[in-house]
Amino acid sequence: MNLYEIIYYIPIVITLMAGFVVVFAANDIHAVIALFISSVGLACHFVFHNAEYCALSMIVIFAGIALTLVLFTVTIKPESVSRNWQNGIRRLLPLMAVLIILYLLISYYAELFIEISGRSPGNLSLEELSSMLLGEYLFPLEIAAVILFSSIIGAASIIRRNN
């Protein structure tokens, strides 16, 4: 097993361990943080598959989802947050920091890893991706935007209705 394979399997192991924590954690806050760690590990895995933009959007979106779920859990379900939840977060924070640093390193040296693995880069550039989004996939993009906008309007109207 060479260096590339070791670095290739580290995000996979972290993703699966974090998924295991999501299933079996007793505290919801810990489960949310484990879900975010699992997503960052998966983003590292995406980089090896030449999907850097997908990885970036995944990290940004899942950071927002994790923050939303933490806020929702704290405001709606305060009974599910145990008193010593901060200790668990302190244990998980170093793992999260290590994972994010690993993601940055993998992203920075992605070309090198792809070269070591012997694969042709075949990378999809931002220009090609955006031309596909705004050309061939313009209609699905607009449909997705309309669905997202209508869900936001619907959620606001559901919450603000007073009867």
Binding site: G19, C54, I76, A155
Partner: protein, 101 residues
């Protein structure tokens, strides 16, 4: 490392984790987490097949659309749960339990 086996294996395990959460936890927040684990597995499938089988990048675009669907689902479920909590003064986690009674 030319194989698609690791990506497919991880996506299957994430799918099993998500199904396990949906079957065992009757809780809105945990159900959302289970659904997002299933979405992660689906995205990994798309990206893996996009990298090894169809290198035109369509799988990456499908994964990005899956992110949008996930955010829409999160918005809808959290709004409904918040509304339920305001009307019945119960935790939003009781929705699934009551719907099964």
């Amino acid at each position: 490392m030319e194989s698609i086996t690791p990506g497919i294996s991880v996506s299957i395990i994430l799918l099993l984790f998500g199904i396990g959460i949906l079957l065992t936890r009757k809780d809105v927040v945990r159900s959302i987490m289970g659904i997002f684990l299933i979405y992660n597995g689906a995205c990994l499938n798309f990206v893996t097949f996009s990298a090894y089988v169809d290198p035109t990048g369509q799988g990456q675009l499908a994964a990005m659309f899956i992110f949008v669907i996930g955010v829409v689902e999160l918005i809808a479920v959290l709004a409904l749960s918040r509304r339920y909590h305001r009307n019945f003064q119960k935790s939003g986690s009781d929705i699934l339990q009551i719907s099964q009674e």
